[in-house]
Amino acid sequence: MAVDRNKEKFLNDLREYLSVLEEQEQEDILAEYAQHIDMKMQKGLSEEEAIRDFGSVKELAAEILAAYHVDSRHAMSVGRRGIWPAAIGRNAGSTGIQGPDRDRGGLSEAGGAGQSEEKVEEGLFQRMNGRLHKIFSNIVQAVRNGFGWGIKKCRWFADLCARPFRRKWGAGDEEELAGSTGNDVSGILVERDCGSEPAVQGYGSDADGSLPANRPEIRTEAKEKRTGIMGRFFRAMGRGTVKICKWMLDCSIFGMRLFWNMAWLLFSVLCAGVAMMALMGIGMTLILVCGGYPFGGIFILELGGMLCFGALAAGAFGMMIRKKAKKDDGKEEKSGKEVHYEQTA
């Protein structure tokens, strides 16, 4: 019974370490290891011996994750927290091969009695990293205190500049934030070759509709970044510039439309004037023709001219862009949509 627990425990432990991978991938990997253990047992080895040959589960899991280009240092943020030691990912690609030159159990248990030199070095780096972090934190704090007054003034100036656009900011921020919680925060975990299938669950796509536990933290960080003073100032500048550009574009469009309409109106009036003169000529010529004068040809010419210029005047008038007509169309469309929505609802 104890033997059965060993195999089960090994597979369960491995599953937990690989929890960042998709369920199907986990099953695939575990099935291979289970089969391997079974085959070794068929050859006469005990289960315990068969499992022992795999070495440390953590190292093994780190190597498997490395095959998926997943850094096991990040895996701890997704899987069960605390099962991954901080240093294991650094050796993901280098601790795999084991022979007579290497102690099989050397790195197997974190905090065990037999620590290797690598672990000592890692501890040193961790301590150095902690001290550096403290020093930088102090520097940042000093800078913040020293330039507090300047920061306040900058904030006041940014608020002043942004005041005209403040109402739009709120909506924009929310839109941007909503957009940021989609796919763009996922890149930290996986580097994948183009041919590979996606294997990390919960990141990049919310297929199951649930967000990972650390998403709210990411969201808060993103919001904090976006609400920095300089960020707000530059965003206000950007929005102002966009607004001015839009206004200039609207003016240009309005001027072009005005020029276009005036040109066609002038042409239309000229054509209409010529058509009217031709109509008058037709009347006069008709009287003369009735009086016996031979002006039949002139009468036909004037009739043709009147029809031609009349048509040109109508055509030119039709070329004018009428804003009101478009608005009416828009209203019709909108009302049509409303009707459709009501029907579907």
Partner: protein, 106 residues
Amino acid sequence: MNPQFKKGVLELIVLESVRRKDMYGYELVEEVSEVIDVNEGTIYPLLKRLTNEHYFETYLRESSEGPPRKYYHLTAAGILYLEKLTADWEEFQARVNGFIKGEEAG
């Protein structure tokens, strides 16, 4: 043998083994173990990586001794990759051998 040496050639040995004959995981581990002494667990991640990179493709085949076994087959991309690795290895070992022999002669 030096672990670093083994690490470098493991991929080459695995690819060459599968080129000769389609193999399932355990069979491949045994084959590789005859050449170099490796941790059995490390072969599977390597197989997975090579499969993800499309150098291997897998298929299941029924077995009389138990459940179906997953066999690995070398793809065209895998053959090209193996040829490149082999050429690299030959060049590398020729240079190193030349250097060592030169040192001994000198």
